[in-house]
Symmetry: C2
Subunit: 327 residues, 2 copies
Amino acid sequence: MKNNIKLDDVAKEAGVSKTTASRVLNHRGYLSKETIAKVQQAMIKLNYRPNTIARQLYKQQTKLVGLIFPTINNPFFGQLANELEQLLYQQGYKVLVGNSGNDPAKEESYLHQLLERQVDGLIVGAHNQGLPEYHHPNLPIVAIDQKMNDDIPVVSSDNYQGGVLATQRLLDDGCKCIIHTNGPLNFISPTQNRRLAYQDVLAKNKLTPITYRTDFCWSNEKKKETFRQIFRDHPEVDGIFAANDTDACLIISVAAEFHKQVPTDLKVVGYDGAAMTTVLAPQLTTIQQPISQLATVATQILRAKIEKNENSKSVTLPVKIHNGTTA
Amino acid sequence: MKNNIKLDDVAKEAGVSKTTASRVLNHRGYLSKETIAKVQQAMIKLNYRPNTIARQLYKQQTKLVGLIFPTINNPFFGQLANELEQLLYQQGYKVLVGNSGNDPAKEESYLHQLLERQVDGLIVGAHNQGLPEYHHPNLPIVAIDQKMNDDIPVVSSDNYQGGVLATQRLLDDGCKCIIHTNGPLNFISPTQNRRLAYQDVLAKNKLTPITYRTDFCWSNEKKKETFRQIFRDHPEVDGIFAANDTDACLIISVAAEFHKQVPTDLKVVGYDGAAMTTVLAPQLTTIQQPISQLATVATQILRAKIEKNENSKSVTLPVKIHNGTTA
DNA sequence: ATGAAAGCGCTAACAG
DNA sequence: CTGTTAGCGCTTTCAT
């Protein structure tokens, strides 16, 4: 069944010791040209493949980084995961993905397994919090857009600024009744700053903030039902600042059911502005997160911790608005 | 730095042997209640974490499955990867992702590393082919929508049927000049059957097939330039059957530049029909691949090979058309 | 320039 | 019911 060729077999074939074979494999130490040639011949002849696991056991590192996100099937997390993978790959790491689906049990289960020396570090963008494992002092972790605990650096975009941009755009468009959708309130996340900004801007303009709670991992049908409720509760709504771009698009679909034309009767601003969204829904006006930079900074911080045990501070990156036609 | 607690430490703390501690850990063999309690106490006290790597070395398996796709940042592969991850997780496997970016070098490099016993199996949806490693007889592999070699089962949707559905729809819409975009011709892939179907259907209707070559991993700008060329070369075009949904949306954007209104002046049918696409671009008419079923079948086949060394045959699954407003 | 031997942390025969 | 012992495949002092 399996390829049982091990270094010892190569060594025997080449008539040298295991040690020498290992040295050839790793280009380490003094070796005569002939020995190198002999060993390499033997490796080819036997179709030798080093066993990564054995190597990892000795070195106590896996060169694996775990990615824990609610789902990877989303323009934002998809692009983020993709860019992280590329960067990490260039730096010699491979990537283990875990989609928590915002299920705390699954997230914890992932964590448990990954903590068991399976990965050298973790990048977490899931939306749960307070899992005790995150306090594990031995595993380098970087959080994305999520405060986990004081030891763990957070890389996020400027959510407050994003909230200001979005809300201000709707005001500039002349909207009088602006509604916001956002995730659950039950944990502290930089994402909440969008809500804060929205509230602040409206207050400055003597308008009343109305926020509907949605959850990232709800089914589309459940989300739509929530959005329908918005139009039922507030038929006068003329501006919506959505928690993300998929929600924004769902809102636009639902608006059509209520015979609200976008942008004539209703303006909509989304959030995230991933590359895929600007292809599939180019008309959507949205706050664009600097996804590539988030990935770059997150990997830098993680590597500093893994390789030099350097602790980094949290980082906030600027956002900008993508001008579509929906607001 | 690292948590150096090992099973031996636990054993000493509990006053038993390593073996006994191991048995408690694995709930195996006969153990007295007191021993179990003692050992568990010790584990908690020392905050013991089993070392997965050591375990893997002994068992010669990692419970890891490698996913090799061109990119995960795409509605189709994103959803596929997501569903595969969920299914595999339920079955005790974790997932290592590799985005080949359609770069044969990167794909080969991935393969090289993964073949070194790092994963128990591989699911490959990349668009390259003919890499010699794929002939490695020892690693269970399943291909998605791609013929790799005779030993490797392929799970694909019915590309021919999809091609027929798409082309027929455009004909039914009254299109007279129908153009198709498709990936490179230089390797045999079930995807080519779409082109075949397109050609067959047009031939039956005495129309001339015109196919433009695109590549999945081109930049959006490069793709757009290709699509602009379509309108320059064939201003009379009134129907396009695109290789995938992102291309379809890009084509619609480019059509606007040429003052072609969709669907009035031009009908467009996409391909893939991932869930995310139907949210972000609900108006797009597209051929819907059975993504969940692809994932289910692929994992079944892979597990049969990994766990029972059973060889499976290739499987083709039916597609259907999603009715939007673009055709 | 090369080899012998120890050990990374865990599991499983085999005894008792 | 529990302990002793021998590896899993590799890397690395320490000799030579």
